[in-house]
Structure formats: structure tokens, C-alpha cells
Amino acid sequence: MIATLARPLGWRLAQAWMVAILVGVLSFLMMSALPGDMIFRIAAARFGYDNVTAENAELVRAQIGDPSDLSAFFDWIAGLFRGDLGRSLVTGEAVSAEIAHQLGATAQLAGIAIVLSLVIGPPLGLLAGLRPGSVLDRATVLMASVFKATPQFLLGLVLIVAVSIGMGLLPAAGHGELRHMILPGLTLALGLAANTTRITREAVVQARGSDWWRFARWKGMTEPQVVRRHGLRHVAVPVLTLIAAQFVALMEGVVVVETIFGWPGIGHALVHAVFHRDVPMVQGTALVMGLAFVLVNALADVAARLLDPREATR
């Protein structure tokens, strides 16, 4: 068992290192290529609208030097080997500490979104797949299309207007307590659930048409028994793969949702770091996001192998 997992994990580890170096190089090059004087952007972020002046920009230049200089890049790579991501050019805080705070918020949001999407999506897909062509099946197709097509910023605002202002149930925005998580989580989850519903439904329809399903029914099992003993595991594999693939969409959505609901988070941090030309923060957040992709894919590999041992022998 361990041996069958070691090879893919070793590959993912090598991938992680490649991601780290590539992200570092690319984000450094892209930041250097952006138009405008970096120092002015950093000064703008530090001092704000009314107070950014050429004098303050020179003060910043004297303090931090030229962030687009190659030596800054090599310092960053050297720091990487020591596990040091450097300091933010805007706040002066350690990048690792800022990311830890922001990543925590994003992880909460992403976690809630995935859990909610799993509560909503697969059960609906399962019911729809067991009764193809039924009213429920057609209704889920309709709902899935609607939620898939609605941009998240619109969905978020609609939910705030309906739930917070209309019903007065949950806070409109804010961060820190469980009640602040539900609306942003739901905004993300509805889009994700649209996909998982459809994938589950297709997998169930396909399973119902397969020989093993018919055999299970023929030997006397009821349909719910087939679903419980064979169907769920079969359906879980594509759903799991989909969740890993949806991670990209989730990260995009997180940026939008964080802004609307006033959340901190890694998407928010990355966008602001790019605006403010905070090179170490851009490198750090991009690195963490890149590694998160590798980690999620590695976990999905492992889970898929555990669910479907045939994979290992292929």
C-alpha cells in the first residue's frame, strides 16, 4: 500500500519544487515588466491618497532599495532554502505571517464552500441520476445551469439582499465568526454544486446502465442496496477528481467573494500585492497558491487510489 502511494507522492514533491522556482521567477519577471515606477506604487500603498509625494517615494527608495533589482530575486531564492519568504515592502511584516493570517481565512472559506457544495450537489445528482427524465432531474439541470452561469459577485449581492436585508438572518459582510462564513461559503458552494450535481448524475446514469449494476440487481439486491454497497464508491471517484479540478475555479471565486464580503484572504492579498507592487508578497502568495494546487492534486491521487485500487495496477 505504502509503496503504491510513494511513487505518485515522490513525483508530486518534485513538482512542488519546480512550482516554487517557476512561480518565483515568473512573478518576479511579471512584476518587473509592469508599467509605472514600483517605488511610487509602494509609497502609495504605505502613505495613502493624500500623502503620497515624490519626497515620500524617495524615503521608501532609501529604505528598501530597488525591488526589481536581480539581487532582490536571488535574496528571495536564498531565503526560500531557509524557509524565509522575506518581508512585505508595504507593511514591513514577515510575508509568512501575513500569508498565514490570510491563508487561514481562505482555507476556512474554501472548506465551508466545499462542504456546502458536497451537501447540496451529490445528493441531488444521485436522486436525479436514479430517475433520469423526472421532474427532479430536469429541475436540477435548470438550477445547475442558472448557478453555473451567474457570476459570483452577482450571486453574492443577491444573497446579501435576500438573506441579510430581506430576512435579517445573517450579517451582510464581515469576518471572524461562524455566522460570517455562511453567505460567502454559499455563494461559492452554489457554483461548485452546479458541477458536482451534473457529474454525479452522469456517473449514476452510467452506473445504472453497467453490467455490474444489472448483476447486483439480478442477484436480488434492492436499488438502495446497490447504491449503498457499490454505487457510492463508483460515483465518488469522478466527484473527487472534479473537486480537485474545481480548486482552480474556487481560487478565482475566492478573490471575488472575499472582496464583496469584506474578508481577508489569499486572493485579496495577491490582488492588493500586485496593485502595490509588493514583490515578496506576490511571490509568497503565488507560491503558496501553487503549492496548494500540488497538495490538492496529491491528496486527490491518494484518495482516488484508496477508493479504486485498480488504479495502482494500471
Partner: protein, 497 residues
Amino acid sequence: MFRTLSLALFMSGAALPALATEGVLDVVAPFELKGPDPVQSGNILIKMDVTETLVDADATGALLPGLATSWTVAEDGLSWRFVLRDGVSFHDGSKMDAAAVAQSLERSRGNGGLLAKAPIQEIAPLDDMTVQITLSEPFAMLPSMLAEYRSAIIAPAAIAEDGSVTSAIGTGPYRVTDYAPPNKMAVAAFADYWGQAPVIADAVYHGISRSETRALMAESGDADITLTLDPASVTRLNRADGLSVISVPIPRVLMLKVNGAVFDVETRKGLSLAIDRAGIARAVLRFPEGATQMFPPGMADWHDPELPPLAYDPEAARTVLAEAGWTPDADGILQRDGKRMEIEILTYPDRPELPLVAAVLEQQFAAIGARPVINSTNFSEIPAKHGDGSLSTALFARNFALVPDPVGTLLQDYAPGGDWGAMGWSNEAFTAGVKALAAGSADEGTRDKLVATLHAELPVLPIAWYQLTMTVSDKVTGVVVDPFERTLGLSQVGWSQ
């Protein structure tokens, strides 16, 4: 029975607010927390009553004793002494004394604080409770500058060896309990505060950059005080229950900075006549009126009702421009000496109304035959392009009350030029007048002359006077509306009965 209970609570006096509501006072504003440094996030720290300044200011801009109870200046105008308030402690329990204050002010001065603009030689403790500030030339603005948020006093323990600030340790009625940048800061009443204890024990600041979200938080009751709303939300919130929308004129002016090296004074007058200020104010900004001169009526010393208002007259604009040598070419585009009148309007989208106003200006300049383009980008491009001389025009909002006295801003922006003011313009009499006002040696009537010069030469084209828009929930009372955007009077805000 309920009434009796609340009456009983009322009788119990000071303990009432804590008993009556367990709630937290929620303040929502667009500014994100950058760090604990007053130079970076001091406007939030001072609004949340975490930090205080030596000199305080009220809603009329009058200076009041703050952490300094009195101050004096020597005959020569160079040596200022500030006597500190007794019995003030920082939130870490340490005592506020002259050494701590001098260290805090020197740090601010060396790290981009407003004091860097004052002709200060040294800030040093004179004795345990007196701070002496030595100047190189007389400077009457000093107390005003000490009232600014970047000059707030923080504890020595908050200042690292390299001058960076590691935590927000002030002297205010509230101390920081949870500092979670960029969006959230929770504060609680500071037990050893020297003055009146806060009425509500707990408050939270939320930095919410999207104006729609702020408006929704106000409407849903999540926010007790909401600052800065977009015009569309104001219209809607005016109809909402449970809150009041407050709109007050503030000393902030929406203006078009014009490169004087490219556009001479006659050309600027022509462009000014092409701008429909009243239309922009009503249709885009939803303000009652456009600017008729540089300073709004609220700045009584600086607003001159006798000045002829800046007019909108496209016909006259064409005539003035023709006299300045701008004539239409074969395509109908204004040209002078073979060069077309190309105007780049540089602006930034952080204030959502700016690109909209830029779009109107683009049309109105095109209507008189100019070739305008909009460049909406990061606001730091304005000082950057000012610095390298490549700026054409820039549209922005400038606060004339960074310090309660606009002379501070004029000194930076117009004597003779500055990143957020005049460019390629100078007027010796004007510069001398501003410097005399700053030094405290100006003649009677200097201000009127300065205002008249700005009106006649138009180094920048004023477009609109800003309104501060905020909502206050009916749940709270006692919120201070400060046109200088300095305080909310937070510690004395209470729950409505």
C-alpha cells in the same frame, strides 16, 4: 414592566450602557489597515480613539489641548514648549512622559510623517513633562501639524530599533484587542484612560473596500457607523429605515491639475469655461452645487462670496482659446503652431466618481475642439508623472484639511508647486504670502489675496466641493460629524434608549 426595568437601569447611571446592550459598536469604512504605524493607518487609529495627539481639534477646526495641556512659543518664534498632561498611561501600562513623546514625534518625522514638512531642528524632552521643539525658522502651523493623525503619540515599546512600529500602543480611551489587518480591528475600553471612560465598552473597525458592501452593511444593520458612500447607494439608503444618512460639506475639492508648462493661463481659462460644474455635481456626484471657486463656503476664512463664480460657457471658451492662439484645423480640432490640443486626463478608480467625472470632462473638452483621452490608473502615477514632467492633466480629490489649517496644504501644493497641486506654475507674491501665513507673520488681507490669485490664474481647475457621506444607525447616539474627517467622537457614542 419593561419600561420600569429600563427606568431602573437608567437610574443606575454609569453602568447602564454595558447592561442595556451587550452589543459591539461596528464602524465600517473603506480604508484597509496597513499596519500599526500611525504614519500608515493613523487615520483609522485616531478615528477609533486608540491614539491621541498632543494638540486636539474640534469640528470647527479650532485647536484644543490634547495630550499637551498648554504650549508656548519663545519671542524669536523658534522654540516651542509643550507641557504634557499628567497621569497619562499608554495601553501597555507605561507612563507617558516627555522622553516618550519626543521619541514618538521624532520617529514620525523621520518616517514620512507630516512633521517632516515643518522646519524642525530638534524635538527633545526639556524636563520630565515638557517637550521642546526647536525650529530653524518661525512656523505658526506647528500646533496644527501636531494635531494630525500621523503625529499621534505611541509608546516607546511599540517602536522597534529600526524605527518601524510593531504594535498599536496609544493613550486613547480604547485599546486594541484584536489587530487583524487588512480588514478588522477590535478595540475595548482602556481601564486606565486619563479622561472620560468610553460609554460602549467594545467596538470593531471593519475595512470594507467595496462601497456596495458598505451600503448593504448599513442597510442590514450590521454597521452602526458607515463612512463614505457612493452616490447611488445614498439615494437608496435615504429611503431605508433605522438609519440616517448624513451629508456634510468638507474641505476636500475635486480638481483638475493642469500642467502649466503645456497649458498657459489663457488656455486654462478657456478650458475652465468648457466645464459644466453644476451639471457634473448634480448628475454624477449628486451634490447640490458645483464649485464656483477653489474653497467651499464651509471654509469661511478662505471662501470669498464676492468672487465672480467660475462659469460654464462653451461659446466663450472657444473665443478665449482663439485669443490664446488655438484655432480649429481642417478636422475641427484646435491647434496652435501646428500642434493639436491633446489632453490626457489622468485619474484613478479608487474614488468611484472620478472616472465618471473624467468621462464628462472628456466630452466637454471634445465639444470645444480639444482631443482628450482618459487614463484611469493607480493614483501614484500622478506624483510620478508630476516628477518627470510628463503629466498633462490629472483629476483627483484633494483634502485641504490634512491639518486643521489649509495653509499646511497650500504650502505643500502651491508654494510654488506640489504633487497634488500646481505644476509649471509659480507666483512669487503667492509663495511669499503662504510662507508668511505659515510663519505667522502675514499681513491683514493676505488670505484674500491668495484666494484671488488662485481664482485669477487657475493653476488647477476646481470642479466640485466634496460632501462627506455617512450613515449612522438609529441604535446609537452621539456620533460626531467632523468635516475634517479626524474623529467620530467614538468613545462618547452610546446606545439609544
